[in-house]
């Protein structure tokens, strides 16, 4: 047994690619081992900006010889059969052996695959791994790149260390030759480092000022940053993304704290945090009150001779320049009101076929108002808040008696709410033309909220401007404040309607206008706020249905149950639709549900086999694929109902068997009960009503012969089953349910 070390050294690998590269290295190495049927123990992969490392423990020194026997045709079989067997087994006819099988002489091919030295296997595996390595972006370099066939790597590959035990695994890839020699830290170590084996690798590199284990570097950054923050009497604002990124940028990380001028704190803290994080990869800190402090933490890659004073000072200057820009934008932007900024939206194209952003704003403002006037969005829709406004970033310090206009939009009159929704919608996009959002597009909405508050607009309006893009991602908050709900919903609905109106729909993986996200946003707002209205029609409604299916599937709802409800068709009220899906889900988890489904399937099979369309089918044979569709056809509803009643009321021409009678009675109770419950949108009750059919239908199948000899009995019984099926279909199309 032996341990294997592979180090692939290159110029600086982008931090964001290192995790993927580690996984890729392990995957390809395992692929090579599997192909050679070599087992190994634990595999460790590490990365630094300048190297990818793999250590595999417990490799055998050689693969075992394998002997394989293949049984062939009997002696005396036709030549063709014998030749075919030889080809398949890869042996010559002369090499075949003859053995006795149950008294019959039979050919056998015996193959001996000799064992191979693991070092030889690895010498072939390493070039294969390097050549097949998949990077998000790769490049050519150097003199060899006169041909486009030259090696591609993320950045120039400069060295390979490959050691099995204490021995170099010799190989060469496009002019890079393997060896035992590597380099240490770019600045803290000069000259070569010769590695002995997998065991001394990390230690020797540590002596060369390189910590090869990325997790150790991450720990150092995490704890080091927290330490320098607490030494300054502050608390680090944790940021795991920054920890990983900085560990990907350093081989010897040294967190250092610096201060910036306190005056900069007058700009919104998000701005400071964003510029520190995105542009400079700095951590920020909070004071004991939880407010952003005038401090930053950068992660140097050196142990500077002066303890880092120069490094910190340089970084401070860079940050100060960035923060001056931010403060300049903040000051300039506030010289105009949002309404004045909004005029600039006339110059920005929303889409060439859909006009300017200003046109969109106009549509959204009208729609937001309409949503309130139609009482789809109501004051105080759901959440009532106690005193003040907890999510008000600006903090007006309300308490006690409040003008509702100052709060999150709760307790407003409908007219006030409509006015505020329209106002917020008209201003919601204005920050897109501000300097700050021009520089930091991520701050769209947020800055609008700040500017709105700075000019004294009501908090409900400022909040709506700030939050109207929400929900953005899956984990993002869903707006609940009425003004915000109206604006956010109107914005997304307008986007969807507009793009669908010019036939710009997402296809496959292409969704350039993020319509799927918009639809999901609408669904979540509607769901969380219990908003009752028809969201869309036609194609767009189908699109919503698809998004809802995906969303429900991800939430763990069985896809067949979703299909069963969607198959009913024509539902544009998402709240009602989901209520039905969820009721069905819990019903199908119950024993009643499972049994009812079994009964349903049996009934449906008989009806299908007998090609029986029941009373409904006789009334209108529309030639549609699904004759049952007419059950839901509103135009025919009255006709069907009258006819059905007549049929059910008509006297039987024979004496019903007890089980038959029991099912008739049960249907007579359950059908209207289910219908009533559905009308009242109490889908659980509708399903409970159906559950009452379970015992009668089971008994019916046990005791009654459907295909009776007498035609009148057969017709009646098939009708009964059709009635049962129709009753079940009022809740969902059970034919779509699996099980």
């Amino acid at each position: 047994m032996s341990d294997f070390l592979l180090e692939l050294r290159s110029e600086e690998i982008p931090a964001r690619m290192q995790a993927g590269a580690r996984a890729e290295l392990e995957k390809l190495f395992r692929r090579e081992l599997d192909a050679a049927s070599v087992e190994c123990g634990e595999i460790t992969v590490w990365s630094t900006p300048r190297r990818l490392v793999l250590i595999a423990r417990g490799l055998p020194l050689a693969t075992e010889a394998v002997s394989e026997e293949l049984k062939g045709p009997p002696v005396g079989a036709p030549d063709q059969a014998i030749d075919g067997f030889c080809r398949k087994a890869g042996v010559d006819k002369g090499q075949l052996e003859t053995r006795d099988v149950k008294g019959r002489a039979t050919y056998f091919a015996v193959k001996n695959v000799p064992g191979r030295a693991t070092a030889d296997l690895l010498a072939e595996a390493i070039p294969a791994i390097i050549r097949d390595f998949s990077w998000p972006k790769s490049m050519r370099w150097g003199a060899a790149s006169i041909s486009t066939e030259s090696l591609r790597w993320v950045r120039p590959l400069s060295g390979i260390v490959a050691l099995l035990g204490d021995d170099v695994v010799e190989c060469e890839v496009h002019g890079v030759t393997s060896g035992a020699v590597t380099l240490g830290h770019r600045f803290h170590h000069s000259g070569d480092i010769t590695i002995g084996n997998a065991d001394d690798y990390a230690m020797k590199l540590r002596a060369g000022h390189v910590i090869v284990d990325h997790e150790e570097r991450q720990d150092l950054i995490r704890s080091g940053a927290a330490k320098v923050a607490s030494e300054a009497g502050l608390r680090l604002v944790e940021d795991e993304g920054l920890v990983i990124e900085n560990a990907g940028l350093t081989e010897w990380p040294v967190p250092l704290l610096g201060r910036f001028e306190e005056d900069f704190l007058e700009v919104p803290p998000e701005t400071i945090q964003l510029t520190a994080r995105v542009n400079q990869k700095y951590f920020v800190c909070e004071d004991e009150k939880g407010e952003l402090a005038n401090a930053f933490i950068c992660t140097a890659n050196i142990e500077a001779e002066d303890g880092g004073a120069r490094v910190v000072d340089g970084n401070r200057k860079v940050l100060a320049a960035r923060l001056s820009d931010a403060r300049f934008f903040w000051d300039v932007d506030r010289k105009k009101t949002l309404a004045e900024h909004a005029k600039g939206l006339e110059r920005i194209t929303f889409h060439e076929k859909l006009g300017a952003v200003a046109d969109k704003v106009e549509r959204v403002a009208k729609l937001a108002r309409w949503l309130v006037e139609e009482e789809i969005v109501k004051p105080n829709t759901r959440h009532s808040r106690e005193g003040g406004n907890p999510d008000n970033g600006g903090g007006t310090g309300n308490s006690g008696q409040l003008d509702p206009r100052l709060r999150g939009g709760d307790g407003l009159s409908r007219d006030d709410l409509a006015d505020m929704a329209e106002q917020a919608a008209r201003l919601a996009k204005a920050d897109l033309v501000t300097e700050m959002v021009g520089e930091f597009p991520e701050l769209q909405g947020l800055m609008g909220g700040y500017y709105a508050r700075a000019e004294g607009l009501p908090d409900a309006v400022a909040d709506a401007i700030r939050d109207h893009y929400k929900p953005v991602g899956q984990g993002d908050d869903v707006p609940t404040a009425p003004v915000t709900v109206a604006v956010s919903l109107a914005d997304k609905l307008d986007t969807l309607r507009s793009f669908f109106s010019i036939d710009e729909k997402p296809t496959g993986s292409k969704d350039p206008f993020a319509l799927r996200r918009a639809a999901l946003g609408v669904i979540r707002i509607v769901q969380d706020n219990d908003l009752r209205f028809g969201v869309a029609q036609g194609d767009l409604l189908d699109f919503f249905a698809d998004r809802l299916k995906v969303q429900q599937r991800e939430a763990g709802v069985r896809h067949d149950l979703i299909d069963a409800v969607f198959a009913l068709g024509g539902e544009d009220d998402l709240v009602r639709l989901l209520a039905r899906v969820h009721a069905l889900q819990s019903f199908m988890d119950s024993e009643d549900g499972a049994n009812l489904l079994a009964g349903y399937k049996r009934a449906a099979n008989i009806l299908k086999k007998e090609d029986w369309h029941g009373a409904e089918g006789e009334i209108a044979r529309t030639g549609e694929e699904d004759p049952l569709a007419i059950v839901d056809d509103p135009d025919l509803k009255a006709v069907v109902a009258a006819k059905m009643e007549q049929r059910h009321a008509s006297e039987l021409s024979y004496a019903a068997e007890p089980a038959e009678k029991a099912l008739m009675d049960a249907l007579a109770n359950s059908e209207p009960a289910a219908s009533r419950a559905i009308a009242a949108e109490d889908f659980s009750a509708a399903m409970a009503a159906l559950a009452a059919l379970r015992a009668p239908i089971d008994r019916f199948f046990e005791e009654v012969t459907v295909n009776a000899d007498e035609e009148n009995k057969r017709a009646h019984r098939l009708d009964l089953l059709a009635r049962f099926r129709a009753a079940v279909h009022k809740v969902a199309d059970f034919s779509r349910i699996e099980g």
């Binding site: 110029e11 600086e12 982008p14 931090a15 964001r16 900006p49 972006k137 790769s138 490049m139 050519r140 370099w141 150097g142 003199a143 060899a144 790149s145 006169i146 041909s147 486009t148 993320v154 950045r155 120039p156 400069s158 770019r186 600045f187 803290h188 940028l249 350093t250 400079q280 700095y282 950068c298 140097a300 890659n301 050196i302 500077a304 001779e305 002066d306 120069r310 490094v311 000072d313 340089g314 970084n315 200057k317 860079v318 940050l319 320049a321 110059r347 920005i348 194209t349 060439e352």
Partner: protein, 299 residues
């Protein structure tokens, strides 16, 4: 302030010249045209094409009309200098050479935190892209480091390494100065502001307020037509100059704020067509000689 008179702006440039000259680079002079970046110099764009080795270093004045701030911003200028080094094929020790050049101008990597941070480069106008880094010195971007992969829509064979130093930034850093106009241009008391402040004021005004837009539109169209004329007559270098001219006129029109968002893409497309057309023609003209001299090379 640890101001070191040895490191005046001009001394820094001279030190870089000495260093790269010693590495075997041609020390070229700036291209005598207005352009937005050193990459537009034919010593970079056109020389990045084809198989012939090419090592050159030069200062290129850059014009970015929209970056003008009337001399009031300590960091932003509508006219500034880039130091360009182009090494083709990219040598294996290019990073070490670059780091040595930083030491030559006074940046000690054991006192200052030097980092190579991913930053890929793309110029749709030139049909060019490359992978590389922005080099950070104590958190400040001081150099763009790129391995050209494509130029004018053609694969670079072989790949050239391009280094672009932002000279004013580097000098501000080395001299410990917060305002570009306070830079010591030489060690006899002449500042950067003495040389350029008035230019920045006047040129900002001209770029943003004065330049006659009718004439600019006219110039753009004429450059475009002249580029096509040059292409038709098989003088691709002349055609390329007209593409550079059109590109700068477009930047001026942008600064004057007379190009709408919709038109912008169309103008950029026209400049791109000129630049790519010139590169293609250059390639077509030179390819036979290159192929003969370098049999392993193919277009």
């Amino acid at each position: 302030m640890d101001r070191n008179p040895q490191n005046s702006f001009q001394d820094m440039i001279l030190a870089l010249h000495d260093f790269w000259s010693a590495q075997g680079c041609l020390i070229l002079q700036p291209y005598d045209m207005r352009m937005g970046a050193g990459t537009f110099h034919t010593a970079t764009t056109l020389r990045a094409l084809g198989p012939e080795p090419w090592n050159a270093a030069f200062v290129q004045p850059c014009r970015r009309p929209t970056d003008g701030r009337y001399g009031e911003n300590p960091n932003r200028l509508q006219h500034y200098y880039q130091y360009q080094v182009i090494l083709k094929p990219s040598p294996p020790d290019i990073q070490d050479l670059y780091l040595k050049s930083l030491e030559v101008i006074g940046i000690d990597p054991l006192k200052h935190d030097i980092r190579f941070v991913e930053d890929d480069w793309e110029s749709p106008t030139l049909g060019a892209w490359g992978l590389g880094w922005e080099v950070w010195c104590d958190g400040m971007e001081v150099t763009q480091f790129t391995y050209f992969q494509q130029m004018g829509g053609f694969d670079c064979k072989p790949v050239a390494g391009e280094l672009t130093y932002g000279l004013e930034r580097l000098a501000m850093y080395i001299q410990g100065v917060d305002n570009v106009y306070d830079l010591a241009f030489n060690d006899r008391g002449v500042s950067y502001g003495d040389v350029f402040l008035e230019n920045e004021k006047q040129m900002s005004k001209w770029n943003f307020e004065v330049a006659e837009t009718g004439a600019l539109f006219d110039l753009f169209n004429k450059a475009e037509a002249e580029c096509r004329n040059a292409l038709a007559n098989d003088v691709p270098i002349a055609a390329y100059e007209q593409a550079v001219e059109a590109s700068h006129i477009f930047n001026l029109l942008q600064a004057r704020g007379v190009i709408s968002v919709q038109e912008r893409a169309s103008y950029m497309g026209r400049v791109r067509d000129l630049a790519r057309g010139s590169c293609e023609a250059h390639m077509a003209k030179e390819a036979p000689a290159w192929a003969e001299k370098y049999p392993e090379w193919s277009k």
